[in-house]
Amino acid sequence: MENSLLAPGHRACAGCAMPTTIRLVLDAAGPNTIVVSPTGCLEVTTTPFPESSWCVPWIHSLFENASAVASGVEVMLKRRKQDTNVVIIGGDGSTFDIGMGCNSGMFERGHKILYVCYDNEAYMNTGVQRSGSTPFCAQTTTTPPGSKSKGNPRPKKDMPAIALAHKVPYVATASVAYPVDLRRKVKAALQVDGPSYIQVNAPCITGWTFDAGTMIELSRLAVETGLWPLAEWVNGELAGVKKIRRPKPVTDYLEIQGRYKHLFKKNDCGDQLAKIQAIADANKAKYKLVD
């Protein structure tokens, strides 16, 4: 993409999904956009002073205040009657955990801001610690498997439901492996006169450990197993889901990632695999993913 709004030369790991995610979002949003980002891999890899990969105006302040900073940007645009998109692009740690207070305030005040979370399911920038987004059983450096642990003991926090509870008029999940779907959702979100939230599955090669080339395949498998339903809610109603044509067993997705390696080493983790399959099956039933 010659006229991409994210320049190459960024320092993200080879095979990281985050830069592809950003490009897809910016493609759909266009150059008349101001981006606000919290601290995390995105900020560190795309803005090493005195360089920046951003070809749109961009601001970073702290790890947990992007929603408040964006609110300040948005009120000034309204004050000047300037029609420019405000898009937050942030990691799951800032979105699900530390930034929750600011996110809640921004959603509740009804700012016209699109919040895109590139979800790599852990605090990657600080070396792969667990976040509220880390899925059940995944290994991170703070949920290591051991004789008394099978990885992360808790399921992933349901952030889209939290956004919906704030009556956010447009909420969607997406995947870096489904670019057409993601771009369409960004465009739909930017039409909304109010806040919107899109959570994008974005594999991290360092944290999930997989062969770099399989980054897209992995995100596709998350969808095809039912672990990452692609859904969209408009004004609180489920407005669409992406059907899975040939559902795959969760093991297809889990076994090619280092973060689940422990589940395959010892036979005492059979239970765990069944529980993860049950999470996928529950999603399939809840969202009617399979015809």
């Binding site: 105006p57 420019t84 207070g101």
Partner: protein, 398 residues
């Protein structure tokens, strides 16, 4: 110190007077969170916005942390930005304070100084702001409501100066100044606009000139970012003096620039302090002068930047110095006395300096207390017995 034109005076609450001053500064964005004793300021501002008297975006946010973060975004959009807080709220902002100054955003904030918990205490001292002396913000401490009003307008002038571009806290003692009703000359809107022109930011978040704000700096450049802030604070000393002078030319009132003094020239015992306790100290000095005691006062108006030269100049004739302050650095004396001693160390001044933590958590500082301090200072001329102490410590409840 100030000359007041009594014809235009109104008896109003301190918080109202400050809110009125903020209105005259015409901020684009106000973002604040309620906390005693700052609350009335933002309530008055909300009412002014609701009445259409003030055309500002007023954001009611989820915390002080969010309040100041909103102003980061607004300021990057070129907004004149305002907040106010105190104590726990200022502490909750701590991380953002560094961010605002590091990104050189000329935010102005009134701090209604209050004690820090635990134990929870809503009354006045200055622990909150003195504890945040190193965050890069300029700090002006005012002695009365009129000065709070006037310093708020001056603060924008200093903060938005293209050579400075630094945030400022205008520190006023909570309750003592925020809740008092006293005669104040409210600012004239026209004159205020004449004094403070519209904010002209050089660069803003603009799709036509898409710059990156808040990049990540490694060891090869970080020091220079800090140096530039340091340098801007030093440069701001002249701007603080200038802002006070220009203000005087238009409004006829002056409180000193960096420091001010009261009978300090020929004084043997000089008290150094900041904030509203100055009123009591002046009364005590008046009484003691009548008794022939050569007591004077030096008021530190600008605590950051710390006016080393101005203080050396103002205090060079003293035979003994007593610092009274409403804060402690637990484990190492307190902010003002430490800074003052360090200002003297490489100079020729060898005057004994003793420090007092007083008025903590809202305890009254009386004329009697000031006399006691002066007595102790006089005794210290012959040899310092205690370099630093808690005034009026109730040893019976320890």
């Amino acid at each position: 110190m100030s000359q007041i034109n009594t014809a235009n005076m109104k008896v109003v609450e301190g918080s109202y007077a400050v809110a009125h001053a903020v209105m005259c500064c015409k901020p684009d964005v106000i973002s604040a969170y309620p906390i005693t004793p700052q609350t009335h300021i933002v309530e008055h501002l909300s009412q002014m916005v609701a009445n259409g008297e003030l055309d500002s975006e007023f954001l009611t946010v989820d915390s002080e942390f969010s309040a100041l973060s909103v102003l980061v975004g607004a300021s990057a959009m070129g907004a004149r930005s305002y907040s106010s807080t105190t104590s726990q709220g200022l502490a909750l902002m701590y991380e953002v304070l560094y961010n605002v100054s590091g990104m050189r955003m000329p935010v102005v904030m009134n701090v209604a100084n209050r004690a820090m918990g635990a134990p929870l205490n809503i009354w006045n001292d200055q622990q909150d702001a003195v504890g945040a002396r190193d965050v890069g913000w300029l700090q002006i401490y005012v002695e009365d409501v009129q000065e709070a009003v006037d310093a708020t307008l001056q603060a924008y002038k200093i903060a938005e100066d293209p050579q400075i571009r630094m945030p400022i806290m205008v520190c006023m003692d909570g309750f003592v100044l925020t809740h008092v009703y006293e005669p104040v000359e409210l600012l004239d809107k026209e004159l205020a606009s004449q004094y403070l022109p519209a904010f002209q930011p050089e660069k803003i978040l603009d799709p036509n000139h898409p710059m990156t704000f808040g990049a990540f700096a490694d060891p090869s450049t970080y020091t220079e970012f800090r140096y530039q802030q340091f340098d801007a604070q030093l440069k701001s000393m002249a701007k603080i003096e200038k802002a006070a002078k220009e203000f005087e030319e238009i409004f006829g009132r002056h409180y000193g620039g960096l420091v001010d003094s009261y009978f300090a020239d020929d004084a043997e015992v000089v008290i150094v302090t900041m904030g509203s306790v100055i009123g009591t100290i002046k009364d005590a000095i008046d009484a003691m002068r009548k008794e022939g005691k050569k007591v004077g006062l030096v008021k530190v108006r600008s605590y950051r930047p710390f006016p080393v030269q101005a203080l050396r100049q103002a205090l060079k004739g003293a035979s003994v110095i007593a610092v009274i302050e409403k804060d402690v650095s637990i484990g190492a004396e307190a902010g003002l006395v430490t800074d003052l001693k360090s200002a003297f160390y490489n100079s020729k001044i060898r005057t004994p300096v003793i420090g007092f933590a007083a008025g903590l958590g809202g305890r009254d500082i009386t004329i009697k207390d000031i006399r006691k301090i002066v007595d102790k200072a006089e005794a210290a001329r012959k040899g310092i017995e205690s370099e630093f102490e808690f005034l009026d410590l109730r040893t019976e409840i320890l």
